[in-house]
């Protein structure tokens, strides 16, 4: 056992862990952060888009030195069938603002930077050190963690579990269950190297401008899933993710989906001549509001993915992670400054503050969405994209058929595929879940 005792131990150096460690250390707490990877970011996987606002709250001048790839000026939503995509593109010069709202980032670089800020704030960061279990006293209070360095333990008043989606420590201690297969998506991604000017030409971008494509449809073969393509400075990141339960039921393999996505006639030309730089896979918590476990207890709090704090509908995760980390850090600092113990009745402050934030409010808004998309995935991800593509083609193809007949054919295709009642009920349920 190390003789040293800390005010707080943060397990994990991802977005939520770094936010928590930074917040506490900059408020004068004695903080130890443990990271299993060789350096912060080496094990962390994200698309990745950074939401400036939430980081600004923590580090206002982050734009001065954070490694940012491109600021996003264009968002494309695509519904895809096997040969086409029907898209809505939103591009605005308003996004070329002095303090842009969204950036693409490469986590391996960004997290290194964030961790440097954490160290500069005064926290001690240990890499290549895995917390293997929580150490409890006789009364069930968490008093520290055991590490994989010869099984040595180290003590603190409170442990912040920022350990990611699998959350081994928390589940091992019985604080929460292993996430269910229908509450996590498995996403695979690749990073393709392309010269900066080629990316600029292909996507109509100049300087640091960036573009995002998010796509759904037959690419997920009827499963609830999403494909994406993000532009970085000298590379594009692209990937696809589907619910683990769907993968299990369909026996599809993630890499074949990604290969098919890359080979889709709408995506292929965007990647032409590129060289794969890296590939990665990651689990994403998608259970939403109803899957959020207990977030605090005797001497511990949970932040980020470990707490299922991820908004799958808006594809936001890192901002919820950062915000939950910051709020946990603020709550712990307040409790500490008043000289109170890290008992559940005091740590409940974290949950109370989180409930008031956009994190829980947003998740609550979409609480019925995961169930809807899961049970009806084939309709939403296979049937409708195909119908829409047919309708669009029907509209643009000029072949001498009278327009009235074309419209009738389109309507008939929808009714045939889903029935009037089916269309009506899908629309109502979607509207209710979105409400």
């Amino acid at each position: 056992m190390s003789k040293e005792k800390f005010d707080a131990i943060v397990v994990g150096a991802g977005m939520s862990g770094n936010a928590a460690a930074y917040t506490m250390a900059s408020r004068g707490l004695k903080v130890l952060q443990l990271e299993r990877g060789e350096y912060p970011g080496s094990k962390n996987v994200q698309g990745a888009i950074l939401y400036a606002n939430m980081l600004e709250t923590i580090i206002p001048d982050f734009r001065d030195d954070a490694p940012l790839e491109r600021h996003l000026i264009e968002q494309r939503f695509w519904l895809m069938d096997d040969t086409s995509h029907t898209g809505v593109h939103y591009r605005s010069d308003d996004f070329n603002e002095p303090t842009p709202n969204r950036y693409t980032i490469i986590r391996a670089q960004f997290d290194k930077w964030f961790s440097r800020k954490v160290r500069e704030a005064g926290a001690t960061v240990l890499c290549e050190t895995t917390a293997t279990e929580l150490v409890l006293d006789g009364g069930g209070k968490v008093i520290g963690v055991r590490t994989d360095r010869a099984g040595e333990t180290i003590h603190a008043e409170v442990v912040v579990l920022a350990e990611g989606v699998n959350g081994l420590l928390g589940t091992r201690a019985g604080f929460r269950k292993v996430p269910k297969p229908e509450a996590v998506a498995l996403a695979v991604k690749e990073m393709h190297f392309l010269p900066e000017e080629v990316i600029g030409e292909r996507f109509g971008l100049t300087g640091d401008q960036g573009c995002v494509i998010e796509a759904a449809g037959t690419i997920s073969r009827g499963m609830a899933g999403l494909g994406f393509l993000y532009t970085n400075k000298e590379s594009v990141s692209l990937g696809i993710g589907c619910l683990v339960s769907d993968f299990a039921a369909t026996v599809e393999s993630p890499y074949t989906l990604l290969d098919a996505f890359k080979d889709h006639p709408s995506i292929r030309p965007l990647l032409a001549g590129s060289e794969v730089k890296e590939y990665a896979a990651h689990l994403i918590p998608e259970g939403g509001y109803k899957a959020i476990p207990q977030l605090f207890g005797n001497g511990w709090v949970v932040v980020g993915d470990a707490g299922q704090l991820n908004n799958a509908v808006h594809r936001e995760g890192s901002n919820l992670a950062m915000t939950s980390g910051r709020i946990a850090g603020e709550a712990i600092s307040m409790i500490k400054s008043q000289g109170c113990p890290m008992a559940p009745e005091n740590l409940s402050l974290y949950k109370a503050m989180l409930d008031k934030s956009f994190v829980v409010k947003d998740l609550k808004k979409y609480k019925d969405m995961p169930a809807l998309l899961h049970t009806n995935s084939r309709n939403f991800f296979m049937t409708y994209p195909q119908l829409l593509s047919k309708a669009a083609q029907n509209f643009v193809r000029v072949d001498g058929t009278p327009k009235i007949e074309k419209e009738k054919a389109t309507t008939a295709a929808f009714v045939k595929a889903r029935s009037r009642w089916g269309l009506f009920s899908d629309a109502v349920r979607l509207a209710l879940a979105w409400r």
Binding site: S2, E4, L32, Q109, T124, V125, L126, E128, T129, T147, R149, A150, E152, I154, F193, P195, E275, K277
Partner: protein, 283 residues
């Protein structure tokens, strides 16, 4: 006893790529690591310290970011780290590097006690010259024991060390006096995992940083590009050979036939060999 280990931060050569357009090495985004051969030297040094007492000082020359490599060495359990960093060192070849390192080792001797053993890895994975270790030994007038596979014994009172040195013909068992310089062979040992307290200490340690002047270097012209007679004329990616290995189907044909064909093929490419072998056979 006092042991100095020289390490180098190198790009992870397994992850280096050549730029498809410009044909230059892409260093951007390539992770850096401690030269793997140096880890064998470091572990051997730590073992000697654990057994005989004393201190291990780790030394590197490089840009400020080389501090990462030193901090890692402290995590493994080294007692002290010195970073030799100065613009004057930029562009050093092996001659200039061994000069700067030997001066720094002398300065380490002045500041923290004269070293009994200086360790290096057998070579680095980026330069691959294996010249810096011997260069340091020569300049510091140390006995050099290169390609050492094992330290058999150290007798501190007699100031003697016995090592096994691997050479092409076999293994030398060498006895030498201390102080000496050892370049350590790979695969000799596995780097340890530092204790939690070592890791904590490493995370908080201030790394000693020396400029050329602070390292006691008076003659700057022997450093960096100016002190380096080596000139890199061109960097290029080797073009793949046209000849490819052929997989032979062994299921249909008898293995003896395949062997005969192979021998015949070798002899058509190397006629002298056939002559040599047949004359050797007749004699």
């Amino acid at each position: 006893m006092h042991i100095v280990v020289c390490i180098k931060q190198v790009p992870d050569s397994a992850q280096i790529r050549v730029h498809p357009v410009t044909n230059t090495i892409m260093r951007q985004g390539v992770p850096t690591i401690i030269n793997p051969y140096d880890l064998f030297a470091l572990e051997e040094a730590l073992k000697v310290r654990d057994h005989h007492g004393g201190e291990v000082t780790v030394l590197t020359m490089g840009p400020p970011m080389a501090e990462e490599a030193l901090r890692k060495a402290l995590t493994y359990g080294a007692d002290r780290a010195v970073l030799l960093t100065d613009r004057h060192f930029a562009g050093s070849d092996t001659l200039a590097t061994s000069f700067a390192l030997s001066q720094a080792i002398a300065q380490i001797g002045n500041s923290f006690g004269t070293p009994d053993i200086v360790f290096t890895g057998k070579q680095t994975i980026d330069g691959d010259t294996a010249q810096v270790g011997p260069g340091i030994a020569k300049r510091l007038n140390l006995v050099q024991l290169t390609y050492v596979a094992k330290i058999t014994s150290i007798d501190l009172s007699a100031r003697a060390i016995t090592v096994e040195r691997r050479s092409e013909g076999g293994t030398h068992v060498l006895k030498s006096k201390l102080p000496c310089l050892i370049t350590m062979l790979e695969g000799t040992t596995v780097i340890r995992r530092g204790s939690l307290d070592d890791a904590l200490r490493a995370a908080r340690s201030e790394i000693v940083k020396w400029s050329a002047v602070e390292a006691g270097i008076e003659d700057i012209t022997k450093c960096g590009l100016r002190g380096s007679p080596t000139v890199v004329k061109r960097v290029f990616a080797p073009t793949p050979r046209e000849q490819k290995a052929v997989q032979i189907d062994t299921t249909e044909k008898r293995v003896r036939d395949i062997a005969d064909e192979l021998v015949a093929s070798i002899f058509t490419h190397q006629p002298a060999l056939q002559h040599e072998l047949s004359s050797a056979g007749s004699a």
